[in-house]
Subunit: 199 residues, 2 copies
């Protein structure tokens, strides 16, 4: 039950009282996306946040014709548009299903209202925003590591769940490496007996 | 008055009632740091969050002997340690004053208690964590732009306040470029008449 999984997730962060749970039940919905479909794209008329119950997604931004993969994630995480409006440049955000995905869908305008009404939603929202912040900082760090090998070794260490789940191509995009470079490093590390310390 | 600036900052996000303001006044302090000093380093016995009233800082992480600059910021921003504990690798966080800095200092353990007591602190904490998240995602994006020129042009567009404030060396570190490459791009862009669109 996707909705039950979602409430379990929330309750672990802060107990949700019955009246709020009932209110939320009337406002959220369960949706599925096939592989290759977009959970979020610039064509959306309304903005939503998704709790990923099942599946793997990647977030990418399009600057001009260039697609830049800035994050990858799997089930039990909240995903959504990061920028409200990009005032700086034409940056378009996409979230793409890399597998069949089941999500709980929450309207962002509704969520914004909730923040004015419920203490626990702010408490949970703060914890989740802090978690997302730490994850984004990790992405900023991994992209700045000095060598391709250091990047992939840190990837193996920080994202063990993604290694055998997401195709090599998207891992390469995420690390800012060519697929050839990543393939070469991957076989080298395997041959070296999986020695994972970043130097 | 640093403390007055801090309360103005908070009140813009959510009104702070008088009793909370008085409580906070007894718990926060004003500190200054000379250029080159660390607001945060692995030697700290206690963890703090700082509201930067005046000055510019850079955040860097040390992995082995390698320092990696992941962020730069100036006054009217909250700064602090991003990782609670790095379980993955020996990653050490530092925040360094790039100018003389005046800050309001808040103990992190005290802040954690506040979250259980005051609705408005969660409301403000959530907004700030979301803002920090967007900023970290921007740093993840800029580090993945395909060319040195695209990185510097986006830097000019997103961080206009930092361009003439932070020395070329730290901008180069932040963008993951060599100082020579950045110097070359900087003079090229100036000669081209400051044409700033990222292609």
């Amino acid at each position: 039950m996707p909705v039950a999984t979602f409430f379990r997730f929330l309750n672990q962060l802060h107990p949700i009282k019955g009246s709020l749970e009932n209110y939320l039940l009337g406002k959220i919905s369960t949706v599925s996306f096939n592989k290759g479909k977009f959970l979020i794209s610039p064509l959306d008329k309304e903005d939503h946040v998704f709790f990923l119950v099942r599946g793997a997604v990647r977030g990418f931004t399009k600057i001009g014709q260039k697609k830049i993969t800035t994050w990858l994630t799997i089930e039990n995480n909240l995903v959504g548009r990061i920028r409200q409006n990009d005032q700086h440049e034409m940056v378009e955000e996409y979230i793409e299903a890399l597998e069949y995905c089941e999500v709980v869908k929450i309207n962002s305008a509704f969520l914004k209202e909730l923040y004015f009404q419920y203490f626990e939603i702010n408490y949970i929202g703060r914890l989740l925003a802090q978690k997302l912040y730490m994850a984004a900082e990790e992405r900023a760090l991994i992209g700045r590591l000095p060598t391709a090998e250091a990047k992939y070794k840190r990837f193996l260490s920080v994202y063990p769940d993604l290694v055998n789940r997401v195709s090599l191509k998207y891992i390469a995009f995420f690390l800012g490496l060519s697929v050839e470079t990543l393939s070469r490093i991957r076989s080298k590390i395997t041959n070296d007996g999986n020695e994972l310390i970043v130097r």
